[in-house]
Amino acid sequence: MILSKTWLADYVHLDAPTEQMVERLLMAGLNHESTVAHGSDEAIEVEVTSNRPDWLGHIGVARELAVLFGRPLHVPDPQPEETGPAAAASIAIEIRSPEICPYYCGRVIRGVQIGPSPQWLVDRLATVGVATVNNVVDITNYVMLECGQPLHAFDLGQVRGGCIIVRRAEAGEPFTAINHKTYTLTDHMCVIADAERPVALAGVMGGADSEISESTTDILLESAQFAPLAVRAAARGLVLASGSSYRFERGPDPAAVDWASRRAAALVLELAGGSLAAGVVEAGALACAPATIDLRDHRAADVLGVDVPAGRQREILTSLGFVPEKAAAAGSSRWRAPTWRRDAWREIDLIEEIARIEGYDRVPEDQPIAARTVELSTRERAVRAVSEVLVAAGFCEAMTRSVVAEPLEAMESPWTDAPPLVCQPALIRGADRLRRTLLPSLLEARAGTLAVGAPHGELFEIAHAYLSRTAPPPADLRAGSPVEEPLLVSLVTAGEYLRAKGLTEAVLARLGIGAGHLPAGGEARVEYRALAIDLLAAGRAAEIVLHRRERQPVRVGVVGEIAATVLEAHSLIGPVAAVELRLDQLDFAVTAERRLVRPSDFPAVERDLNLVVDDQVPWAAIAAAIHAAAGPLVEQCRLMQVWQDAERLGVGKKSVVVSLRLRSDSGTLSGDEAARIVEAVVAECGRRVGAVLR
C-alpha cells in the first residue's frame, strides 16, 4: 500500500516530519518499506498485515495517526444531491448467490461528461502509483484508495435488459475483462451479469464491453460486498489480481459500502457533471455485525506483564473507535467493535490494541523464569553421535531437497515398494516427488561438487524419507498419518564395498550396536546379507538386518557399491560406495548405559591360523565358529589374508589366514592353554565349515 502524505493530511493534520510519522506507524504495526518524494508530495510505502484491511485506505491510516498523535480526525460526509428520477426505474438488481454476495447497491447518474481528471486527482493517483484513465474511473479508484471499499462504474447504456444479476459463473463461461483478455470461468467464481452475459468478474475486474468510454453518458455505480473466497478463486485462478480483489479478499469496512457510493457519486457530480437518480437500488442485506466484547480490567496485565490502568485502557479503546457499552460485571468493561475492525472480536484482541497503542517498549525484559533441566531426546543423541563419527571420518554434511524430480525417484527404494508421494505444485523445476531414499540426491550432490572442482565429494545427510503406509490409515484426524517418515543417515564415498562397510561398522559401533557374532551388551546385533537392488552393483551390496531380543529381524540399512549404470547417469567415476541407515530403528542403542569392562592385566598370546575352506564359505561362518569354540578368551579375531591357488590349495578352495589374540582376565595363558584353544578352534571350524589347517 502506497500512501500520499498530502492526501493523509486531508483527514488528520500533523506537524510531525515524515520520519517521525512512519516511525510511529512502524511501532503500531504498519511496516514502513520506503518514502519517495513525488513532486511536492511524498509516497510512503507500507506493508499492511492481512488482518487490517482498514489500513488499505488513506482514512484508515489517518485514523491510526490521529490516535497515535492525539489529533482530531476529519472524515467527509458526502451527501450528493439527487435530482433525477428514481434509480429503480433504470435498473433492477437481483442476487442469486447470497453466499458469495450478501449485499449489492447501485446508484445511477445520467448525463455525465467523460473526460480527463483535474490535476489534483491525477497527481494523487500518480503519487500512489495508479494510472489515470478518465474522470469517472479515476474517481472510483480514488474512493477505493480513500476508504478501502472497491467500486465499479458501468456504462449503463451497455447493460442489457435493464438488470443486474449477481450469480455464480457457469463452468466454462467466457468473460472478456477490461484488459481485453478473455477468461474461462469456473463455478467457484462470482459474476455480475446483465440480462445476457457477464459484465464484470465480481470484485476483481469489469468487463470490456461495459467499461466507461468517451461516449458514455449514463453510469451505474456499483458498491457491494463479495465473499473473500470467491474473489480469491477468481483473482488467483485467473492470475488477475487487482486493487479491488486484494481488498475484497481481506474484507473492507461494511459501513464503507454506502459511504463510498455516496462519496463517488458526489465526486462524479462535481467533476463530470450529470444528475444523480433518486435513491439507491439495493439487493441483499449488508453483512455487518460488530462484536460486543467484555474486557476484564486485570486481564491486560495478566497477558502483557505491564500494568495499564483501567482508565488508560478505556481511553485507548475509545480513541480507536470502540464504543463503550454497559459493563456486564464489576471490574470489567464492555465494548462494541467499530465496523472497520472485524479482526477485533475477543478480549485478547482488545488487549493487543491496548499493547499496540501503549507501546511494547513498556514490556519489561528482565523477568526471570524458573530453572528447568532438559535432556536431548534419544533421536537427537543418535543424530549427534552419527554425525560426530562421519565428520571425524572426513565427511561434509549435505542438505538436499526432500522433494525431487522423477529421474531421482525412478529406482527402487530400500524401504518400500509403494510409489513415491507426489506434491502439487512442484517444489522447484519439476521436482514433485517426495523422496523414498536420500541416496540419489547425495549422488547428484557428489557429482555436482566434483564437477565444479571440489577437493572431494565425501558427503552425508541426515533427513527424512516419505513412505506411503500400506495399511489403511486411521480415521481419527489426530492419530497416525498415512505417511511414514523414517529418519535416514546416508553417505556416499569414493571406494569399494569394504570402505562403505567399515564406515557403517564405525557408525553402528558408536551407536552401540555390534556386528555379526558380537553380543554387544546382549541387546542387538546386525547381520549383512547379500542384496540385489537397482541402485547398487550386483554382488557388491548388502542389506543390514537388525536382530533384537524378542523382535522380528528388520532391515535397517543398505550398503554397497553404486551400480555402473547409476554412476554413468550421474557422470561419476567409480568406484563409489554408499550407505543408508534407518536411524529411527537404530537410535534406541544410544541410550544403553556404558559400563566399564576393565582391561585385563595379563599378557596376550597371538596365534595365526591358516585355514583352508571351500571358497563359498563366508567369513561370517568362520568367525562364528572361532568365537563359538574360543569363547570370551578371544580378544580379537582378525582376518589377515584370503588367497586362492588351484595348484597349492585345490580347485574351489581358499586359504583364510586369521590372527587370534587370546587373553584371559584371570591369569596368564600358558603355551599349552593357547594350544588347546587353537585346537578347539580348528576342530570347530572343521565341524562347521569343513576347514582344515594348512
Binding site: A28, G29, N31, T49, R52, P228, L229, R232, E249, V303, L304, G305, V306, R346, I348, A355, R356, Y360, V363, P364, E365, P368, I369, A370, R372, T373, V374, S377, S387, L390, V391, A393, G394, F395, C396, E397, M399, T400, R401, S402, V403, C423, L427, I428, L434, G448, T449, G453, A454, P455, E458, L459, H464, A475, L477, R478, S481, P482, V483, E485
Partner: protein, 338 residues
C-alpha cells in the same frame, strides 16, 4: 716380543676410552658415529683390537687384571656407541637432518557439519540452558495440525492450494500437505502433554516461493513455545533478550513491533540490535487462546508465548552468505568453510 708394563697398558686403555667417549658424545650424525665405531670398535683395524693384541705382551700374572680392565672399557665404549645411535634415532633437533619447516603438513581431512545444522544446534544449546526441550514432528501434515488448531480457518488465504504443497494422497476428505511451519509440532506436543511446557520445535518447512537469493521453497524453522501459568509478554521479551545476548554476544537489546500471525495474539515482530542496527529476527507473540483451547488447555489458567526464527536467514547473516541457495548447492568448497 717387546714387553709392556701393566701400568702402560692400563693407561693406554683409559686414554682410548676417553677419546672414544668424546668422539661418540659429539658425533652429530650417523656418519660420525659410524666413523667412531670403525675407529674404536672396528673388527679388523679398530684401536681396541690393536690394544687387545698387546695383552699377549703382558706378564702372565698381570693378565687377569688387564683383561678385566680391557673388557670393562670395551663394554663402556659399546654402550656409548648404542647411546649415540639411539640419540640420533630419537630425533633430537640438533642431531637430525634439517627440514624445510614451511613444507606442507600431511593432510588430515576432517568433515564439517552443515552451517544450518550448526546454527540450529547453537539455538538448541542456548534454549536448552533456558529449559527448552528440542522436539521434532512429521513433515507431512494434516489440515488440523497445519491450520485448524493454529486458528487458520478454511477461508484464510494461507490455505490456498497455490500457497502450499498439497499431496495427491489424502486421508479421507482431509488433504495432506508438506507443513508450512513447525508450529504443527507444538500442537502435537500440547495435545499429548499438560503444562508446564517449554519446547523448541525445529525442522524443514515448505512454502511455494520462487527460489532466489533470499527465498527457497524449503527452509528450516526453529520455534520456541512456553506454556506455564502466569506467563506474560514480559517473559517472552526476557527470554528473547537472553537468547539474543547469548547468540549474538554482548548485551543485546530486543524490540517488539506489532504484527499479525493467526496463532498468536498479541503478535509481534522481534528486532534485535546488531551492529548498531535493528535486525528483524523473527515473529513472536502470546499463544492465541483459540490455540490453547484447541489442544484442551484453559486459557484462563495458563498462558504461553511462542516465537519463530528462520534458520537460513540468521545463518546467512551470521556467516555472510549472500544467497541462501548456496546452503543447498552442497558444494564441498562451501561446506568445508564452516
Amino acid at each position: 716380543m717387546a714387553a709392556i708394563s701393566l701400568d702402560a697398558f692400563l693407561a693406554e686403555i683409559d686414554g682410548l676410552r676417553s677419546e672414544a667417549s668424546a668422539a661418540l658424545a659429539t658425533a652429530a650424525d650417523e656418519a660420525a658415529v659410524e666413523a667412531a665405531r670403525v675407529e674404536f670398535l672396528g673388527a679388523r683395524s679398530g684401536r681396541l683390537k690393536a690394544i687387545q693384541k698387546m695383552l699377549g705382551g703382558l706378564a702372565v700374572a698381570d693378565k687377569p687384571a688387564a683383561g678385566k680392565h680391557f673388557n670393562d672399557a670395551k663394554g663402556a665404549i659399546t654402550a656409548l656407541l648404542t647411546a649415540a645411535q639411539e640419540r640420533l634415532a630419537g630425533g633430537h633437533a640438533t642431531a637430525v637432518e634439517a627440514i624445510d619447516v614451511t613444507l606442507p603438513g600431511e593432510p588430515v581431512r576432517l568433515g564439517h557439519l552443515h552451517p544450518i545444522t550448526q546454527t540450529i544446534r547453537r539455538v538448541q544449546e542456548i534454549m536448552g540452558r533456558l529449559g527448552f526441550e528440542s522436539v521434532t514432528g512429521p513433515e507431512v501434515e494434516d489440515q488440523w495440525h497445519n491450520f485448524e488448531a493454529l486458528a487458520i480457518g478454511t477461508e484464510h488465504p494461507a490455505r490456498d492450494p497455490l500457497d502450499n504443497f498439497y499431496l495427491a494422497v489424502a486421508r479421507g476428505a482431509d488433504p495432506l500437505l508438506l507443513r508450512s511451519q513447525t508450529s504443527t509440532v507444538q500442537i502435537r506436543v500440547m495435545e499429548q502433554r499438560k503444562p508446564p511446557l517449554r519446547i523448541v520445535s525445529l525442522g524443514r518447512v515448505y512454502r511455494p516461493d520462487t527460489a532466489d537469493a533470499t527465498h527457497y521453497p524449503m527452509f528450516h524453522q526453529v520455534e520456541g513455545l512456553l506454556v506455564e501459568p502466569g506467563t506474560t509478554m514480559a517473559h517472552l521479551k526476557s527470554v528473547l533478550r537472553l537468547f539474543a545476548s547469548s547468540f549474538l554476544g554482548g548485551d543485546v537489546k530486543v524490540r517488539f513491533r506489532p504484527s499479525f500471525f493467526p496463532f498468536t495474539e498479541p503478535s509481534v515482530e522481534v528486532d534485535m540490535e546488531w551492529g548498531g542496527r535493528w535486525i528483524e529476527m523473527g515473529g513472536a507473540g502470546m499463544v492465541d487462546p483459540a490455540v490453547l483451547e484447541a489442544v484442551g488447555y484453559d486459557p484462563d489458567t495458563v498462558t504461553g508465548f511462542a516465537f519463530g526464527l528462520g534458520v537460513e536467514r540468521i545463518a546467512a547473516r551470521r556467516y555472510g552468505v549472500a544467497d541462501i541457495r548456496d546452503f543447498y548447492r552442497n558444494d564441498v568448497r562451501f561446506l568445508q568453510q564452516f
